[in-house]
């Protein structure tokens, strides 16, 4: 009986917590991808980049993501907001 209750407790808490954890993981994923973009297309922001020539061949695949990234990264307020949201202020 005790075992069953503890099991149900685990299940319910997992269900309740999942969306929040999922959101954090998503944020982390986007963050990691932003860093990737910064390395790849940093020259758009004025950071010298030795591989900008080779970054070209990725464009056909990355095009859908790049627009949003550029907008986000150029907007200081949104960058700070996003960071803040990550820490649940």
């Amino acid at each position: 009986m005790k075992k069953t209750i503890s099991f149900l407790k685990d299940v319910f808490s997992a269900i309740l917590k999942a969306p929040a954890e999922n959101a954090i993981t998503r944020k982390e994923a986007f963050d990691a991808n932003d860093n990737f973009f910064l390395l790849l297309y940093g020259d758009l922001l004025g950071i010298p980049n030795p591989i900008s020539y080779y970054a070209l061949e990725l464009l056909p695949y990355l095009a859908p993501e790049i627009e949003g990234w550029e907008r986000r990264i150029q907007n200081r307020a949104s960058v700070i907001e996003e960071k803040a949201a990550q820490f649940n202020f």
Binding site: F30, A32, P48, P50, Y53, Y54, L59, P60, Y61
Partner: protein, 309 residues
């Protein structure tokens, strides 16, 4: 003096480098010509943006391989041409993949990257990797007539530097993809990582070829003067740092003792640097070419030089 050419007989790729004006192109051309006369199918490729192969052979050599003489072919790598081909390829890949708004965005990007520093080098580098790729390489020997030292060093160390960038990019992207997959909204096969890994593999291949002493050799052309000797010593130690070893030195335009007159004084000065070069580079195979009484021009002139290699 016939040692250098003899010793490099088994190599598939020989690079000629050195300070500007020392006679790199002449020596590279003479070496290639001699190999072709020995019955090896030879290509001479210029990676110097200021090409002079056409001038020395007296025939127009362009960005496409063409025959020069029996068993000898030439190419002058044009970075602009190579960059255009690459960009056309990217544009073809783009067809039907994305919306027209995004295509505009990409056109803007392409123009920016086209003008960015390093693009010319990257384009030249890609072509020379393509030439060395064993699968499609019909030549027994490829001789590279390279640009002056600084330019060439950057070109040769490119795979090392860019390889590190690729590693870092792949690691970051993999992390992002992995995290997204945990939220079950990411896909399993990321085309980006595939493209990056392919690029990385081509850098690794180039590095493997450049550092393999059994197939690749570097020969520096110097004059018996202060600056070429000093610069070459520096270049050699930098290359060694990247795992690339040189095999030969050609001391070009050595004033012969019988010169006399005005040249006698120059010869006395030269003697000092000649001795310095001989000791400094004693671990390499050295060839010496005397200052000739006529300009080196065309096949006949080159054969005269080749006899000293």
């Amino acid at each position: 003096m016939e040692e250098l050419a003899e010793k490099l007989k088994s190599r598939s790729f020989v690079f000629f480098g050195g300070k500007g004006g020392t006679g790199k192109t002449t020596c590279a051309a003479a070496f290639a010509l001699r190999a072709s006369r020995d019955g090896r199918k030879t290509l001479i490729a210029s990676t110097d943006p200021a090409h002079s192969l056409s001038d020395i052979f007296g025939v127009a050599i362009g960005p496409k391989e063409r025959p020069i003489s029996h068993g000898l072919y030439g190419i002058e790598i044009d970075p602009e041409e190579e960059a255009k081909k690459y960009i056309t390829r990217v544009k073809e890949q783009m067809q039907g993949v994305v919306s027209s708004v995004i295509i505009q965005e990409i056109e803007r990007q392409i123009d920016a990257a086209y003008l960015s520093p390093g693009s010319e080098e990257a384009a030249t580098f890609d072509k020379f990797v393509e030439l060395m790729d064993e699968a499609g390489n019909p030549y027994d020997l490829i001789v590279f007539d390279t640009a002056p030292t600084g330019h060439t060093l950057r070109l040769l160390t490119l795979p090392e530097i860019l390889g590190a960038w690729m590693d870092s990019l792949i690691a970051r992207r993999s992390r992002a993809v992995k995290l997204l997959r945990m939220t079950s909204s990411g896909s399993r096969d990321d085309p980006i990582i595939k493209v990056l890994e392919k690029r990385k593999a081509s850098f690794e291949k180039a590095r493997a070829i450049l550092t393999d002493r059994s197939i690749t050799s570097f020969v520096f052309v110097i004059n018996a003067e202060k600056l070429p000797v000093a610069e070459t010593a520096k270049a050699l130690s930098l290359l060694r740092k990247y795992g690339i070893a040189a095999d030969g030195i050609v001391i070009n335009k050595v004033i012969p003792p019988e010169a006399g007159g005005l040249l006698e004084k120059r010869r006395a000065i030269q003697e000092k640097y000649l001795a310095e070069a001989r000791t400094k580079f004693s671990y390499l195979w050295i060839a010496e070419i005397p200052l000739l009484d006529s300009d080196v021009d065309g096949i006949e002139g080159l054969l005269r030089v080749a006899a000293f290699l």
